[in-house]
């Protein structure tokens, strides 16, 4: 753990990503304690008010402006981040569990199981993910659960592929052979000998997937298939605000910026994490 932070401080990009991500997560976690205006209550007298920094701490201040029904954009951004981060991380963890398990199964069992699972992955890769997501959400109806399920569905294949490749080399390692020689069951070998050795790559895939899933979540809500109004979500804010783009730039700019910064921070941190756990780049230091 000491090494982890020392190495992190040495990488400017990694540190930037980690700090930014930490700020975003903390803001989301402690949003109810920040005394923000109600993100769902509009103030029709202050419709499309521009960002003002004067009287920042007075009750009626809107530092990032308001939207077309007078709702505070800063408050909607922070409350929206709660939903986005919750949906994205649940989907990534869910997809991670399924994908890691199936990857281990395909890699260790080989043969027919492997071939069926990998053809399934190939088929899903051939279908545009957005189209698949639209189809599923349109068929099952837009709800948070369905969005999480859809995002997890698009996510598991990436884990499965990478984990399978890892397992193929692990399977031939002598400690796995040794476990077979003592008569350990397949389940025991998969969970005690292989799983602990693929958790690191799974973690790295997870962070990179998180960035991708956040964008997909925003795209789904932009299309009206994500979280339903009045619950704030970044994609929805973009969709609603784009009509006013020429007259009220802040309605679109700040949600867009929030998406960019979040994805950027996750990607920078994920890249650093991948390098950190890669023995080749590590030994070079």
């Amino acid at each position: 753990m000491k090494h982890f932070f020392r190495d992190l401080c040495r990488s400017k990009a990694g540190l930037f990503g980690a700090v930014l991500l930490a700020i975003i997560v903390l803001l989301a976690l402690f949003a109810p304690l920040l005394h923000l205006p109600d993100p769902t209550r509009g103030d029709l007298r202050a419709r499309l008010a521009g960002p003002t920094w004067s009287g920042l701490f007075s009750p009626g201040a809107h530092p990032l402006g308001t939207d077309e029904v007078g709702r505070d954009i800063l408050s909607r951004l922070i409350h929206g981040s709660r939903m986005t981060l919750m949906v994205a991380s649940t989907a990534v963890v869910l997809g991670g569990i399924v994908g890691t398990f199936l990857g281990i199964l395909a890699g260790y069992k080989g043969g027919l199981v492997d071939r069926i699972l990998m053809r399934l992955v190939d088929i899903q890769l051939a279908i545009p993910l957005m189209l698949l997501a639209l189809l599923v959400v349109a068929a099952l109806g837009p709800s948070i659960t369905n969005v999480v399920l859809v995002l997890a569905l698009t996510s598991w294949i990436r884990y499965a592929r990478i984990i399978r490749a890892q397992v193929l080399s692990l399977r031939e390692r002598e400690f796995v052979q040794s476990a077979r020689a003592i008569g350990a069951s397949t389940l025991r070998i998969m969970f005690l000998h292989i799983l602990p050795n693929v958790l690191t790559p799974a973690l790295v895939v997870g962070t990179l997937e998180l960035a991708r899933v956040i964008i997909m979540d925003a795209a789904l809500s932009f299309l009206g298939l994500g979280v339903q109004p009045p619950t704030p979500s970044w994609g929805r804010m973009l969709a609603d605000g784009r009509v006013y783009l020429s007259s009220a730039w802040w309605t679109v700019t700040f949600p867009g910026l929030a998406i960019v910064l979040t994805v950027l921070s996750v990607n920078l941190f994920g890249d650093w994490l991948r390098d950190y756990f890669d023995p080749k780049t590590r030994s070079a230091k």
Binding site: F175, Q177, S178, A179, R180, A181, I182, L192, P196
Partner: protein
Amino acid sequence: MTTSPPVLEVNGLMRSYGGGKTLFRKEKPVIHAINDVSFQIAEGETLGLVGESGSGKSTTGRAVLHLETPDAGSVRFRGQELTTLAGKALKPYRREMQMIFQDPYSALNPRMKVGRFVAEPMVVHGTESGSALQDRVAELFRLVGLDPAFMSRYPHEFSGGQRQRINIARAIALKPAFIVADEPITALDVSIQAQIVNLFQDLQDQLGLAYLFIAHDLSMVRYLCSRVAVMLRGRIVEIAPTEQIFSDPRHPYTQSLLAAIPVPDPDRRRPPRPPFDVSRNIPPREAQMAEVAPGHFVLDHPIQ
């Protein structure tokens, strides 16, 4: 031959790779990794298995332990045929036969504490549990010359020799009758090699283990083994008591192997001899073993 009944009898063992034509794949050429391999090992005996890389030594060891399914032939452990068994029926025999691997670095699970790793065979077979298990692991650590305090450490904290000791502790945890040691000292420093070989001998004396000792190093084989089998291209070409192999090698390949042992004396030069041409002398499939002296068998085939 030895008088005590064999702990292991191997007869006509075959294992080939390749083949397997499918809809999308062309048939690969079939390679016979081991071909008609037969030998016996008596209780408490050490049989050395030598030969060049790729001659099928490791495949033989793995096929005997059912880590690889042989295509044909029989492996009998104390009279029980093993090749027809699978899954649960094989498990009791797993207790009796163990393997020690060549590379002590990849033989330990890097994410498992070594104490737990050594305890695993006993957990799998349910022989010990709770504090009895802890005591037994500590006992095994002492038996292989390690401090039991190391139990809660991870593999990366150990040297190659210590790792091999951990592997040995795991292999003997279930008190097996027979161990396949697949080049167990090749990856170690020369100074450590002697220690590990001595450990092998001590354990044999204490526990009555039989070994199939796979090796490159003929001097180590001479020191440790009572009989030696020489492999060439998947066949055993000569098998005899150790002293007989070293004093009276009959097969030209054995002779060339022995001639390749370095002589630790700069003044003594080896008499020049034509090297044995392996590629021109692949044993034909129909070649048979012939007994040239009591317990000394040589594969009978024409030599170029």
